[in-house]
């Protein structure tokens, strides 16, 4: 066995890795924001008394959760192409990741909504709040606080899964690594470095979500207890 590692030629390409990592974070950020919006709407839709609305949301969730991400990415990529629509790989990747994470987020947020006791909603109804006001003030915020750990894990997973978009040449971290290793013939070193960068990105995201949690959940910040 002769293990001969040479990181020098990899590390000197750090600006390339940095750009890739930045793109990965951008993809994760966009998909997290839009995915959260889809998740909230999807969860409201799944709980709707309107059978068609709840059915459509259910089909969306099941279709996404039972197909591989890579296939979903190709479907968006080739689907848009066959409609004659030309988008950059980045837009396609962001769209596919959003659609993907939106389904998982829908399920997580729905679980949060379902965990709000009926009495909370009755109290709000008794105070004459409208349905929208009840959803916003009494259901959504405590629900999100309760499922925040699952939600943030899902978004970190999404950031890691975004490496799959290298398949459609989105210039994110893994795609960049593929170029570098084919250039330098230092595949093992490249992916060791890339793995480390992904770990750093995960830590950055977790820290960001922790800070965000302090801002948007003042009760938790003050009391430190789970809701």
């Amino acid at each position: 066995m002769n293990l001969n590692l040479d990181f020098a030629s990899i590390i000197e390409r750090w600006p390339t890795f940095f750009d890739g990592a930045l793109l990965t974070l951008q993809l994760a950020f966009i998909a997290t924001m839009l995915g959260t919006a889809i998740g909230v709407l999807g969860a409201i839709g799944r709980r709707s008394h309107h059978p068609i609305v709840s059915r459509i949301c259910g089909i969306y969730v099941e279709a996404i959760r039972n197909t591989p991400l890579l296939v979903q990415i190709f479907l968006v990529y080739f689907g848009l192409a066959s409609l004659g629509l030309k988008f950059s790989a980045f837009v396609v990747a962001a769209a596919a990741l959003t659609i993907n994470v939106g389904a998982y987020t829908t399920e997580i947020i729905r679980a949060g909504f379902d965990s709000i006791p009926r009495g909370q909603i009755e109290a709000a109804e008794g105070l004459a709040l409208s349905r929208a006001q009840i959803y916003w003030h009494v259901v959504m915020w405590p629900a999100i606080e309760k499922v925040y750990p699952s939600l943030t894990s899902q978004f970190v997973l999404l950031m890691l899964a975004s490496s799959v978009t290298s398949q459609i040449s989105a210039e994110e971290l893994t795609a960049v690594a593929n170029y570098v290793q084919s250039d330098t013939y230092r595949a093992f070193e490249t992916y060791i470095l890339v793995a480390l960068v992904y770990i750093v990105l995960s830590l950055i995201m977790r820290a960001g979500f922790w800070l965000l949690g302090l801002v948007i959940f003042p009760r938790r910040r003050r009391l430190g207890t789970p809701l």
């Binding site: 009495g119 909370q120 109290a123 709040l129 009391l223 207890t225």
Partner: protein
Amino acid sequence: MHKTLNAATNAATQSPVVSLKNVHKSFGTLKVLDGVSFEVDRGEVLVLIGRSGSGKSTALRCIDRFERIDSGEIVVCDHRVSDPKLDLRALRQDVGIVFQSYNLFPHLTIEENITLAPCSVKGVSKAEAKEEARRVLAQVGLEDKLHQYPEQLSGGQQQRAAIARSLAMQPKVMLFDEVTSALDPELTGEVLKVIEALAADGMTMVMVTHEMGFARGIANRVVFMHRGKVHETGPAAILTSPATPELAQFVGTGL
């Protein structure tokens, strides 16, 4: 703000605040309300008593339309509750309801709990709502809890805060659904004191309670429900000298 009304003189000249006429309600095949009628005049305290399952809580919940009735008529503060075209939110601005399980919003401070509805429903300014929050909290003896969260309060304090939250909407009638059933005797006492003070202020109230001693002290009228019907009704005195054997048995075991 405080209307100190004399129930007896006003009752004759004004239409009742709450009126149920021949109300029927079933849950599936179970008949819960079987032709219930009663009226509550302005400034009056009506106490609903009866065994578990007698329909008293359902009757109370029908007043605020948390349950829909099958037939009959309910009118509350000129809102025809039984009308399918009822403006539900207008009704609920006039009616305050307090539940057994307090149902304070756990993620909001006591102040935020109280100001939420006045701000978002009535469009009251934040500053005005905060001032009102201070006033109603003082009324229930909790002015120092303004910035605490519900979980930091005892059960009795939470229930008083829930009463304050309802009062901040300046309701014309308050409904209390077994509000002390989850509390120990000491905490029950502090909640009942708040309710007594409200009654003394002239608040119209309908309450379901198992506290017979309290009912005797506060009720202008007692409605004893039995098997979905108003079995016996009258002034608080009927609790000490019941006319029907069912009520006699109930207060006998209830004391």
